[in-house]
């Protein structure tokens, strides 16, 4: 049985021969009675459509890149702070209407929990500062 690779090689040889034939044929032979102006118009239309599609794909790629950057920046850890500094930060943001945080509970919180909460809110704040997809 002929292997797939051999078949592919044969097909490539066939395609190259076909291309050589097309290039060797005169325009009249290739056109075979078809209207060259209509074919050129069809070709230019395909070219224009392709340009529009290029723009659309570029925009999609840029959006994907931005979303990726946003995800990456959200992964950035907050600067290392002591438990006192974390509590000071949390006390400050407890007045921020964007966060629901009771300042009175801060003193009862373990150092570990205070630092973890500080880290979460710090990243939330940063995410809020990033432009949204609609703004780009």
């Amino acid at each position: 049985m002929t292997s797939m690779t051999e078949k592919q090689d044969e097909f490539d040889a066939l395609l190259d021969s076909y291309l050589a034939e097309l290039m060797a044929m005169s325009d009249a032979e290739v056109l075979d009675g078809e209207d060259p102006a209509a074919l050129k118009a069809q070709g230019l239309q395909m070219l224009e459509t392709a340009k529009t599609e290029c723009g659309r794909r570029r925009l999609l790629a840029a959006k994907a890149q931005l979303a990726n950057r946003k995800r990456e920046s959200n992964k950035v850890a907050a600067p290392a702070v002591s438990s006192q500094e974390a509590r000071a930060f949390l006390r400050k943001v407890s007045n921020d209407p964007r966060f629901t945080l009771a300042a009175r509970g801060l003193d009862e919180m373990s150092d570990e929990d205070a630092i973890r909460l500080y880290d979460q809110i710090w990243r939330l704040e940063r995410a809020g500062e990033e432009p949204t997809d609609d703004e780009t």
């Binding site: 797939m4 078949k7 097909f11 021969s17 074919l39 070709g43 395909m46 290029c54």
Partner: protein, 195 residues
């Protein structure tokens, strides 16, 4: 392509556009004929969509055009690659686009949806073979001995006068066979587009 290659060894995007804008009607027809050849056996692609995708890849810079390479050779390389990738996708995908099915087979009286049963009795080797582009194109000229001979000569790398001589054809006979092959390719593509 190697990143160490000097940038001016490839056409800029603006130059790519200029090249295509200077295409004549006959050049566009050559491109579409080549695309038909490359898309042979692909159920989701027409010559037009294949040319369009190649234009997108070249105009976006995803595929490069090496300086000095003729436009049709560049297009052929890009279209061959797109077709080949899609053929692999279709082969490895969950849906068999070539399956012959019998809708309604095994249907029962209850409200369950109609059954679907494969009707294909070919061996796996035959299926793989039939899906290959070469076999697909060979099928198009079945019954036309001269066109089949021309195909065989092309697959052996022979073309033009050399192919005609090797086959013992005069040029009129050779060109007539080539024309019939082109017509079969075009009608098969039209049929695919409308079904």
């Amino acid at each position: 392509m190697s990143s160490t290659e000097p940038p001016d060894s490839r056409l800029s995007l603006a130059e790519v556009e200029v090249e295509f804008r200077s295409f004549s009607g006959a050049d566009w027809k050559r491109a579409l004929s080549l695309a038909r050849f490359c898309a042979a056996g692909l159920s989701d692609w027409t010559a037009e969509t294949l040319v369009a995708e190649a234009l997108v890849k070249l105009q976006s810079g995803e595929r490069v055009w090496k300086r000095g390479v003729p436009p049709l050779v560049t297009l052929k390389t890009v279209m061959r690659s797109i077709a080949s990738n899609n053929r692999k996708k279709a082969r490895n995908g969950p849906i068999d686009q070539h399956a012959t099915i019998d809708v309604g087979a095994g249907e029962t009286d209850d409200a369950s949806p109609p059954g679907i049963q494969a009707q294909d009795t070919r061996t796996p080797e035959e299926i793989v073979d039939e899906r290959s582009q070469l076999r697909h194109i060979e099928t198009l000229v079945e019954g036309d001995e001269d066109a089949q001979m021309v195909l065989m000569a092309w697959a052996d790398g022979l073309r033009g006068k050399e192919a005609a001589q090797e086959l013992g054809f005069d040029m009129n006979r050779y060109e007539a066979a080539r024309k019939r092959l082109n017509t079969r390719l075009a009608s098969a593509a039209t049929l695919r587009k409308t079904t």
